[in-house]
């Protein structure tokens, strides 16, 4: 059994403008010690889906199932969830300055975390452990720095503090919500390395939420690509980069600066993501898809196995067979080109 099994997770919010369907049918499994990346643009439902797992998305209507080590997270009561949050599922967030309490010393904040889940640890022992953790995540003179306030640390150091705090009680799962987005590129790699090191030492599973495909390539074993609250494609790292099926994934990869080589223009995906309020029943990516055909506008595709590999799924009506898919794509592009030409 996997550590975390998510099936058909749906998250919606009631707003004055209508029901926002933030997540529509998310499913995945995650094993101990593995890293799953959730990739997508802003508003694609990446953060909401993980926050709803631990009951942090307030006012959300959540359905489906999420089994964490045999416990159904969606039906667990607040007391049970509280025991899981932090202790078994640690979280780190995007902006490490605003994520640490500005009024409390970092040591105090880590000690609070340790003692919240194990009262039997003495304050002194928790403090020693905090210092040890800070030096594990690469903070120099950790013993002296546990008495410092968050604003006395740099951005990368603060994120290390967050990681140290989240890992202080050795959770089985770490949810890292855009952990490197707010950091300098040079610091990003260091922070990722720290996460990997702790993962190796503690055997933690990681859900890595990001929109940075570079981070994905660095860290993940499996990748879920989300768009407008839906899973577009789910694949191993290798498949995602070299044998992707979904046109959205293709678009994401094509918009990486390195793809075209030096001197070529960037090729972003045209158009903007759709609104999640009362979405129509069609492929959400159809309006921006270069290969969209009539079926895409009529029916919303569910993820299905592609290229004969059960670990690779794609929610696209294009053929699941590699050769046929290539032909179909060529035909769509050709027919679109001819349609655009003046008669």
């Amino acid at each position: 059994m996997s550590l975390l099994e998510i099936r058909d997770l749906e998250v919606s919010f009631n707003t004055p403008d209508g029901v926002v369907r933030a997540v529509r049918g998310l499913s995945f499994d995650l094993d101990r010690g593995k890293t799953l990346a959730i990739v997508g643009e802003s508003g694609s439902g990446k953060s909401v889906s993980t926050q709803s797992l631990t009951g942090l998305s307030r006012g959300a209507h959540v359905t489906g199932s999420a089994t964490f080590d045999g416990i159904d997270l969606l039906t667990a009561d607040e007391h049970q969830l509280r025991g899981i949050r932090g202790a078994r599922i640690g979280m780190i967030f995007q902006d490490p300055l605003s994520s640490l309490h500005p009024y409390y010393r970092v040591g105090w904040q880590i000690v609070e975390m340790i003692r919240a889940h194990d009262r039997s640890v003495s304050k002194r022992a928790a403090r020693d452990r905090a210092a040890q953790l800070l030096s594990m995540v690469g903070i120099p003179h950790a013993k002296d720095r546990i008495g410092d306030f968050p604003h006395q640390f740099s951005g990368g150091m603060r994120q290390r503090v967050m990681i140290a705090m989240a890992m202080s009680v050795e959770p089985d799962l770490l949810i890292a919500d855009e952990p490197t987005t707010a950091l300098d590129v040079t610091v990003q790699a260091q922070v990722l390395a720290v996460m990997r090191k702790l993962q190796d030492e503690m055997g933690t599973a990681i859900i890595l939420i990001t929109h940075d495909l570079g981070v994905v390539a660095e860290m993940s074993d499996e990748i879920v690509v989300m768009y407008a609250g839906q899973v577009m494609e789910r694949a191993s790292r290798r498949d995602l980069f070299y044998r992707h099926h979904h046109p959205y994934t293709e678009g994401l990869l094509a918009s990486l600066p390195a793809q075209g080589g030096k001197g070529t223009r960037l090729s972003p995906i045209k158009g903007t993501p759709p609104s999640s309020i009362n979405p129509p029943d069609r492929c959400p990516f159809a309006p921006r898809c270069p290969y969209a055909f009539d079926k895409c506008w009529r029916e919303n595709p569910l993820p299905r196995v592609v290229f004969g590999d059960p670990s690779h799924q794609s929610a696209c009506w294009l053929s699941t067979d590699e050769a046929t898919r290539r032909e179909e794509r060529a035909r769509m592009v050709a027919s679109k080109l001819s349609a655009e030409e003046p008669a």
């Binding site: 902006d95 309490h101 889940h117």
Partner: protein, 319 residues
């Protein structure tokens, strides 16, 4: 910190000095006939002149002022025109009453205001929130003289008429008559003052708390698996209190200088009532003395608020 304090205190002294000049100036610009009033209706011009001389009013204004400053620096704020009592003595008698009123009320309004504000913010747009908001707005729009009279009418007048002589109609009982009597005399004034201010604090705490509860670090606190109580109080309220403390310092500073309306309604001879009486009698030394004290209270409160800020928020450094 020390340099900051010294600078602020010097600045405060400058402010107080300017205020004494302003009060003196205003007093002599306005038509002034203290001597005539004191002399009585049928006094001869000679008598009036004699009184003016004795009060020092025949001297040029600048000389009176310098005289006043010189004595004030030696701890002597002069004597009141009518009974020749030292102004410091008059103030020393009135101050405990104002302090009792302001400090007692502040405890009540802080408890009500902060509790209601936190509840409103934790359950926003709920029945509790709307109820507490209505409660706050009701008292917020209540003039305190009217609230005082309404309390007196129902809780003193009506109760006493129906045979329950629980509350006195007003006046002050010093602590030396026992804390029970003291509190009994203060309850209605406390409520009058506190309910109006509690409304402000409810709104202030609510909005500040709502801001803080939306902060990332509160989400972090929840993600750590802390109890909701700890998240709200230890992580939320701790930050949300900063603006409340600021407001509290300023309000308390103002009140300690005299609570004019409430003291008048309940005939409490505190600084507020004393200064109002002094103004109607044009008793300059008393007016100046109390105004200086009130200003000093406000200035001190402001300095303390800045110090409190630095103590509350580690990111703030005083320069």
């Amino acid at each position: 910190m020390i340099r900051f304090l010294i600078r602020r205190i010097l600045l405060g002294i400058l402010v107080l000095w300017l205020i004494t000049m302003a009060v003196f100036g205003l007093f002599f610009v306005a038509p002034n006939n203290v001597a005539r009033t004191m002399a009585g209706r049928q006094a001869t011009p000679q008598t009036v002149e004699l009184i003016r001389e004795r009060l020092g009013l025949d001297q040029p204004v600048w000389k009176q002022y310098l005289d006043f400053i010189w004595k004030a620096l030696h701890g002597n704020l002069g004597y009141d025109y009518y009974y020749q009592l030292p102004v410091t003595h008059i103030m020393a008698q009135a101050l405990p009453i104002t302090l009792s009123l302001a400090l007692g009320a502040s405890v009540i309004w802080l408890i009500i205001g902060v509790t209601n504000g936190v509840l409103s913010a934790v359950y926003p747009r709920s029945f509790i929130d709307r109820g507490l908001t209505a409660f706050a707005l009701f008292f917020y729009s209540f003039p305190s003289f009217l609230l005082g009279l309404v309390l007196l009418y129902f809780i003193y007048y009506k109760l006493t008429l129906s045979g329950l002589r629980w509350f006195p109609p007003g006046g002050y009982a010093p602590l030396s008559q026992g804390p029970g009597q003291w509190a009994l005399h203060m309850i209605l004034p406390w409520l009058t003052l506190a309910l109006v201010l509690a409304a402000t604090y409810t709104r202030l705490t609510r909005s500040s708390m709502l801001d803080v509860l939306g902060e990332d670090y509160v989400r972090t606190a929840r993600s750590k698996g802390l109890s909701e109580r700890r998240v709200v109080l230890r992580h939320g309220l701790r930050s949300a209190l900063t603006p409340v403390v600021t407001q509290f310092g300023i309000d308390l500073g103002q009140l300690i200088g005299g609570v004019v309306v409430t003291e008048t309604v309940f005939s409490l001879p505190g600084l507020g009532k004393t200064v109002i009486d002094a103004i109607t009698r044009q008793d300059l030394p008393v007016i100046v003395g109390i105004v200086i004290f009130a200003s000093a209270a406000v200035v001190t409160a402001n300095i303390l608020v800045d110090v409190a800020y630095a103590l509350l928020d580690p990111r703030v450094r005083l320069h």
